[in-house]
Structure formats: C-alpha cells, structure tokens
Amino acid sequence: MNSLPLWLEITVGVFIGLATLMAVWRIIRGPTLSDRVVGLDAATTITMVLLVMIGFFSNRYIYLDVSLVYGVLAFLGVVAIARYFEGGV
C-alpha cells in the first residue's frame, strides 16, 4: 500500500500531539468550569482526527467506526454538562 514519508508522519504527529497537550493545559488551568469544558470539547475533535490517523497508518477500516462512536457520545456528555448549568438534567 501507499505509505507516507517519515518526515510527514512526524510532522503530523507533533502538531496533533502539541494540540492535545495545549487542550490538556486548558483543562488543568481553566479558571472557571466552562474553560475546562471548552478544552474537553476541543480535545474531543482533535482525538477524533487522531483515531482516524491511527486507522490510516495501520490500514484498518474498522477504526473509523470507533471515531464515529466516540464523537456521538462525547457530544452527549458536553450537552449534558450544558444542561446542568441551565438547571436541567
């Protein structure tokens, strides 16, 4: 199969890894709870991309399903926290 050159794998990996670390920093530091949830929301999308990338590098089609299921359920979690703020649940 067609595989990527090594420098490109390293570049993509470093960019996505740094992005995840910065989202984690926002979760650790965030002054209010909303900041932490914003960090979690961004980290969810970054992780969906990361799961697709792992599926691409190891050439397995089934890995895309994990990404889709993860996106659906994390969206549910964020909406549940927003409902808590408004007094619902």
Binding site: N2, L4, L8, T11, V12, F15, I16, L18, A19, T20, M22, A23, W25, R26, T32, S34, D35, V37, V38, G39, D41, A42, T45, I46, M48, V49, V52, M53, F56, Y61, L64, D65, S67, L68, G71, V72, F75, V78, V79, I81, A82, R83, F85, E86
Partner: protein, 110 residues
C-alpha cells in the same frame, strides 16, 4: 492524488495546532470558544479529506464523519456559551453586551 492528500494532511494538522494555541492565548471563555470551535472543525475537515484522498475506498465513512462534525460542533458550542452566559461569567474587557441588557429589561428570561 497522493500529493494532494499529503498537503491536506499538513494543512489540517496545522489548523488543529493553531486552534489549540488560540485556546491557550485568548483572554476569556467566549473568545476561547471562537478559536476552539472554528479551528478544530476546519482542521478535522481537511485532515479527514486528506485521508479520503489517499484511501478512496473509505469515502463514505469519512464523509459521514465530516457531516457529523459539521453538524454537532457548532451545536455543542452554542449550548455551552448560552449556559455560560446564564451562569454570569463576564466578558473580557469593557465590551458591549446587548444580551445582558435585554436580560435586565426582561425581554429574554434569565
């Protein structure tokens, strides 16, 4: 096709990185949400487009992931911002806030 996919992958991961940088640098929740939502959506869009360009047989599943991200990402940010404003988190500087004015007048319920 392969070159196009590689370029898309680089663009997508670069925008993911930039949006996370915005998450780090912006002064308050609302501006962080601007960077977080837009940048991650665009970055995910281009990264998955790049993967689809290099693996054409994954087209349909990648398309469903892209449509899903485009639909749900604005929705969750919208719900979160509305709830945050209802909690009373203030804006950054001396910014105008028409939403709070209308809450004071009673046009929108608190």
């Amino acid at each position: 096709m392969k070159i196009v996919g590689e370029i898309f992958l680089i663009i997508g991961s670069l925008f993911l990185f930039l949006s996370a940088l915005g998450l780090l640098r912006m002064p308050d929740v609302y501006n962080r949400m601007q960077a977080g939502t837009k940048g991650t959506t665009f970055g995910a869009f281009f990264s998955i487009l790049g993967v689809m360009a290099m693996r054409p047989e994954w087209f349909l599943k990648g398309l469903s992931i892209i449509i899903f991200i485009l639909l749900t990402n604005p929705l969750s940010s919208h719900a979160l911002l509305r709830a945050t404003h209802r909690l009373g988190v203030p804006l950054a500087k001396k910014a105008i806030d028409a939403y709070a004015e209308d809450k004071e007048k009673g046009i929108v319920e608190k």
